[in-house]
C-alpha cells in the first residue's frame, strides 16, 4: 500500500541519491500553477529508476524535467510532489561518427550535443526551440522540431533507440545503434511526444546527417494566397529545399526558401525558384534570424497564447485568413510561422478571456471541412494559466483514445507520472 503523502520519508530517497542531490523546491520551480515539493537529481539511469520506483511506492506524483523550457506544455498536472531532473545525466556517451550515430543521455543539452557532433562535420538534423537550454529528453518528450523537418523529418525519423525508466523501476531499451532495425516494438516512437506520461527517457540513440556544405536563403513577399501557391509550386517541383516557411502578420507575409549542397547545385536551384516565383522578386537581404522565426514567435512582453497548429500544405493560406479574421473579431494582435509541411505556430496577444475565446473559435473552425475551414488541429502550448483552465489544451480526443488510456494504465498504473497533463486526461 502506498504511504500517505504526508508521511513521506524523504530521507529514504536522500539515502539513494546522496543528500546533495535532493533539495526542496523553490517558487522558481513551480509550473502551470503546481508547486512541487522536492527536486531530485539522480546521476545515473539506475538511480533515476530507483527514484521513480520509490516515489511510486510512496504514492507521490512525479514530473520529469530536462532544461525546463517546455515544462508548461500540456494541461496542468493534477499534482506534482517531485520534479525528477535529468540535469546530471548530461553525457554524450558515444559518437560513432563513421557509423553516423550518437548515443546521448537524456539531460544532454541540444547545443552541447550539436557542438560535439560538429567536430566530425555532422549534426542531429533538427532545429528545435531553445537548443542552448533544451535537452535531448525534453525535445523527445515534446516531439519538438523546426525548419529542417521538411528535409529530414521530425524526431520520430531520427531516433533509432531509446532507454526509458518506468514507474516500477524497470529500465527498458528498444531499437539499437543501427539505423535499420525492425526487431521488436518501436518504443522510441511511443515515448516521442508522450510528455513523460509513460516513463522517463534516460538515454537516446540518433542517426546523424552531414552538416550542409553551403546554404543560401531567399525571401519572397506577397499576399498569403500567392505565397501559398508559390510554396506548392516548390513542393511540386524537383527543387530540394532544406527549408520552406511562410511567415504572416497583419502587415503582410513572407515566404522563405533555403537550399543546401554544393555551390553549383545551390545556384541552379536558386535560378529555378526565381523562375517559379516570377514576376515576384526575392528580397536581397534576408534577415539572419530567418530560420529561428519559430523560436522568435515565443518572445514578447504582452500576455499571449502560442499555439501549435497543423494543416495540409495547400491550406496554409486558409489558416492565415482564418487567424486574421478570428483575431480581428476580438482585436487581438497576431503573427504566425508555418513550415512547408503544414506545421506551425501562431501567436495571439490580448487578455485571457479573448485568448481563450479565440483558441476555441480557431479549434472549431479547424475541425470543420468547409471551403474556408482549413481542416487540422491546434494545441495551446504557451499561455496564461487562466486560458487553460477547464479545457483540454490538446483538443478533442479521437477514437484512438481508449487505446491510449490502456497504454497509460499498463505503463503507469498508479498515475505516478504527471497525471492529467496529456490528451483526454491521461
Amino acid at each position: 500500500m502506498p504511504a500517505a503523502v504526508q508521511q513521506v520519508s524523504w530521507s529514504e530517497l536522500a539515502a539513494v541519491l546522496g543528500e546533495e542531490h535532493l533539495r526542496a523546491a523553490t517558487a522558481a520551480d513551480a509550473f502551470d500553477g503546481v508547486a512541487p515539493r522536492m527536486i531530485a537529481e539522480p546521476g545515473t539511469a539506475e538511480d533515476l529508476a530507483r527514484c521513480l520506483r520509490w516515489a511510486r511506492g510512496a504514492g507521490l506524483k512525479v514530473t520529469p524535467r530536462g532544461g525546463g523550457t517546455k515544462l508548461g506544455w500540456g494541461n496542468p498536472p493534477a499534482a506534482c510532489d517531485l520534479l525528477l531532473s535529468t540535469a546530471r545525466l548530461n553525457r554524450v556517451d558515444e559518437h560513432a561518427w563513421a557509423d553516423m550515430t550518437v548515443i546521448a543521455e537524456a539531460g544532454c543539452r541540444v547545443a552541447d550535443l550539436q557542438q560535439a557532433l560538429a567536430e566530425h562535420g555532422q549534426h542531429l538534423a533538427l532545429d528545435p526551440l531553445w537548443p542552448e537550454r533544451a535537452t535531448i529528453g525534453g525535445i523527445l518528450s515534446t516531439n519538438d522540431s523546426g525548419t529542417l523537418r521538411l528535409r529530414y523529418g521530425s524526431l520520430r525519423d531520427l531516433v533509432i533507440g531509446i532507454t526509458v525508466a518506468l514507474p516500477d523501476g524497470t529500465l527498458a531499451k528498444s531499437g539499437g545503434k543501427v539505423v535499420k532495425n525492425v526487431a521488436g516494438y518501436d518504443l522510441a516512437k511511443l515515448f516521442t511526444g508522450a510528455l513523460g506520461t509513460l516513463g522517463v527517457i534516460v538515454q537516446a540513440i540518433f542517426r546523424l546527417h552531414p552538416l550542409p556544405r553551403e546554404t543560401r536563403s531567399l525571401t519572397f513577399s506577397g499576399a498569403p494566397a500567392a505565397l501559398n501557391q508559390l510554396l506548392l509550386s516548390v513542393l511540386a517541383s524537383r527543387l530540394t529545399p532544406i527549408g520552406l516557411q511562410l511567415r504572416a502578420a497583419p502587415g503582410g507575409a513572407q515566404l522563405d526558401v533555403r537550399f543546401d549542397g554544393t555551390a553549383a547545385g545551390i545556384q541552379a536551384q536558386v535560378e529555378q525558384v526565381l523562375q517559379l516565383a516570377a514576376p515576384t522578386p526575392a528580397a536581397a537581404d534576408a534577415p539572419a534570424d530567418l530560420w529561428t522565426a519559430h523560436q522568435a514567435i515565443w518572445a514578447g512582453a504582452a500576455p499571449a497564447l502560442v499555439a501549435r497548429f497543423s494543416v495540409l500544405p495547400a491550406r496554409i493560406a486558409a489558416v492565415c485568413a482564418l487567424v486574421e479574421r478570428t483575431a480581428a473579431a476580438r482585436s487581438l494582435a497576431w503573427r504566425l510561422v508555418v513550415q512547408g509541411v503544414g506545421a506551425g505556430y501562431v501567436r495571439l496577444e490580448g487578455d485571457e478571456p479573448a485568448l481563450r475565446a479565440t483558441l476555441l473559435a480557431l479549434r472549431e473552425e479547424l475541425a470543420g471541412t468547409g471551403e474556408t475551414q482549413p481542416g487540422g488541429t491546434i494545441v495551446a502550448l504557451g499561455c496564461p494559466l487562466g486560458v487553460k483552465r477547464g479545457l483540454d489544451v490538446w483538443g478533442p480526443a479521437g477514437d484512438a483514445q481508449p487505446v491510449m488510456v490502456r497504454i497509460k494504465q499498463r505503463f503507469d498504473p498508479d498515475g505516478t507520472l504527471s497525471p492529467g497533463r496529456f490528451l483526454g486526461g491521461i
Binding site: Y185, G193, L232, R406
Partner: protein, 482 residues
C-alpha cells in the same frame, strides 16, 4: 471449426470468399519463408473495413486467433497461420482511395501492391519511396506490418517514415484512427507504434501514405573491387565525405556469379561489387559523382561504370534485385538471412562469416545494403543431403549472433515473425521484452492478433516475468498455457 461460426463468417464475406477446403487452404499455409507450414481452419477474404471488423468481432467473442495476410511475400513467417485460427486475406481490399498530389498524400487500402502506388502517381512525376525487392507483388498492408525497407531507405527512410496515418481494426473489433493526413495529431504516436508491429496489434484497413517528387537526375555507379573489404572502405570514404547517396549496395563474388547466371546483368567478375546511386539536382549529382569515383578509385576499384539513362540503370539494378532468387541457379536450396551491423564492423563480420562458412563446409553468398549496414547473407545448401538443412539453419543463426555481438540487430527489414523470435531474448534483455509486452497487452490482452509471433514465449497479460508462477487466469481455469 464449429458450423455455427463458419455460418457466421459466410454471412459476413459471402460463400465464395470463405475458404475451408484443405486443398485451397494449402495456398495459405506459409508465406515467403516456406520452411514453416500450418494449415489454418479457414481463410476469409473481406472486401471492406466493415467486413474485417465483423470477422474480428466474431474472433474476439469466440477467442479465435487470426492472422492478417497481404501478398504472402514476407520472409520471416509473419503470415504463418495459427493452427487453431483463421487467416484474414486482404488482397481484395486493393483500391487506391485518394490521390492528393499538391499535399503529397495517397490513401490506399492494405491490399494495394507497393509498386502500384508509384505507378499511379508516376505520370505526374511522383513516387512512393520504400522499395522492397518484392515491390511488384508485396502489399502496402504487409509493408506496414513489417516496416519494410528496400535499397533506397538509406536516404529516404523506411515504411514508417512514409506512413502518416492508419485506420486500424483493433483485436476486439473496434475501429481506431492513428495519425492523419495532417502531421502531429495530438496523443501518443500509435501510427509509429503500429508500423512494424508484425500484425500483433490489429489489422490496418486504410493507410495514408506520403509520396515524393522524383529527383531531377538519377545516376548509378558500378565499381569493381578485389574484395568486399576494399568495397567497404570505399563506402566509409563516401560517407566520411559528407554524402548521403540514395542507395549503396554491395555484392560479393558468389552473389555476382548467381546474378550473372540468372539475369546476365553483365557485372564484372570481382571480389566485391558496389552500386552507388546518387539523385538530386543535376549540377549537384555531377559534382558528388566525381567525388564518389575518386573515393572508389582510391580504395582500389579497378573498373568503374556510370549508368545514366533509365535503361542502363534498370539493367544495373536487375542483378541486385534478382539476387535472392538468382542463388537458386547455383544451389539447390538456400536460406535468406537478414541482419544489421554498424557499417564499420563490416570487415570483422565478413571475415567471421568466411570462417563460419569454411568451418561448416557451406557456401555463403553476401548481398548488402552497405550504406546502412543491412546484410543479407544467403546460406547455400543441398536439401537432398540429410542433415544439411539443419547445418545451414545453424550457420544462419550463428551469423545473427555475430550481428548482435557487433552491436547490430537480428533483422533490418524482414521482421522477427516466426523465424527469429527465439533470438529476441539474445538481442534484448528480459525487462525490454516485458516492456514491449505492455504495449501488446494494451492492444490485445487476449493475444488473438497474430499470436505467438515476434516474442520468444507467449506470456499472458498481467503475468510477472521471471520464475514461472501460474497466472491468476490459469488458476481460475479461464486460460491455459500451451
Amino acid at each position: 471449426m464449429e458450423a455455427r461460426i463458419l455460418d457466421e463468417f459466410r454471412a459476413i464475406v459471402g460463400a465464395p470468399d470463405l475458404i475451408t477446403e484443405p486443398e485451397q487452404l494449402s495456398t495459405y499455409e506459409c508465406d515467403g519463408l516456406t520452411v514453416f507450414r500450418v494449415l489454418p481452419l479457414a481463410v476469409l477474404l473481406p472486401t471492406s473495413t466493415e467486413e474485417v471488423q465483423a470477422i474480428v468481432r466474431v474472433c474476439h467473442r469466440e477467442r479465435i486467433p487470426f492472422v492478417a495476410r497481404g501478398s504472402g511475400t514476407g520472409l520471416s513467417g509473419g503470415a504463418l497461420p495459427a493452427a487453431n485460427g483463421i487467416v484474414i486475406g486482404l488482397s481484395r481490399m486493393n483500391r487506391i482511395l485518394e490521390v492528393d498530389l499538391p499535399n503529397l498524400r495517397v490513401v490506399v487500402e492494405p491490399g494495394v501492391m507497393n509498386l502500384n502506388v508509384t505507378a499511379r502517381v508516376a505520370p505526374d512525376g511522383y513516387f512512393y519511396a520504400p522499395d522492397p525487392s518484392s515491390q511488384q507483388v508485396c502489399s502496402i498492408g504487409g509493408n506496414v506490418a513489417e516496416n519494410s525497407g528496400g535499397a533506397h531507405c538509406l536516404k529516404y527512410g523506411f515504411t514508417t517514415t512514409h506512413v502518416l496515418g492508419l485506420e486500424v481494426v483493433l483485436p476486439d473489433g473496434s475501429l481506431a484512427h492513428f495519425g492523419d493526413t495532417t502531421l502531429d495529431r495530438p496523443g501518443y504516436d500509435l501510427c509509429g507504434v503500429f508500423v512494424g508491429s508484425e500484425g500483433t496489434l490489429g489489422i490496418a484497413t486504410k493507410v495514408i501514405l506520403r509520396i515524393m517528387k522524383k529527383p531531377e537526375v538519377v545516376q548509378v555507379l558500378l565499381a569493381a573491387f578485389h574484395s568486399t573489404n576494399e568495397a567497404g572502405a570505399a563506402v566509409s570514404a563516401i560517407i566520411a565525405a559528407g554524402m548521403l547517396p540514395a542507395a549503396i549496395e554491395m555484392m560479393d563474388n558468389l552473389a555476382i556469379q548467381a546474378a550473372e547466371a540468372a539475369v546476365h546483368a553483365n557485372y564484372p567478375d570481382c571480389g566485391g561489387l558496389l552500386l552507388v546511386e546518387l539523385d538530386g539536382p543535376a549540377p549537384e549529382v555531377a559534382t558528388l559523382m566525381a567525388e564518389v569515383v575518386e573515393a572508389c578509385t582510391s580504395c582500389g576499384a579497378w573498373e568503374i561504370r556510370l549508368a545514366q539513362s533509365d535503361a542502363e540503370r534498370a539493367r544495373v539494378w536487375t542483378g541486385r534485385k534478382a539476387a535472392f532468387a538468382a542463388v537458386g541457379r547455383i544451389s539447390p536450396a538456400y536460406i535468406v538471412q537478414d541482419g544489421v551491423i554498424p557499417r564499420t564492423a563490416l570487415p570483422f563480420v565478413m571475415s567471421e562469416i568466411s570462417r563460419l562458412s569454411a568451418e561448416r563446409g557451406l557456401r555463403v553468398a553476401n548481398v548488402f545494403h552497405a550504406g546502412d549496414g543491412n546484410l543479407h547473407p544467403l546460406v547455400l545448401y543441398d536439401d537432398a543431403v540429410p542433415g544439411q538443412d539443419k547445418l545451414a539453419e545453424d550457420l544462419a543463426g550463428e551469423i545473427l549472433r555475430l550481428c548482435i555481438r557487433a552491436g547490430g540487430s537480428i533483422t533490418g527489414e524482414h521482421g522477427v515473425g516466426e523465424e527469429k523470435k527465439m533470438f529476441m531474448s539474445e538481442m534484448f534483455a528480459e525487462p525490454d521484452l516485458a516492456t514491449m509486452q505492455l504495449v501488446r497487452c494494451a492492444f490485445d490482452p487476449e493475444h488473438l492478433s497474430n499470436p505467438d509471433k515476434v516474442f520468444p514465449r507467449p506470456r499472458l497479460c498481467g503475468e510477472k516475468p521471471g520464475v514461472y508462477a501460474p497466472h491468476p487466469l490459469e488458476t481460475a481455469g479461464v486460460a491455459q498455457r500451451y
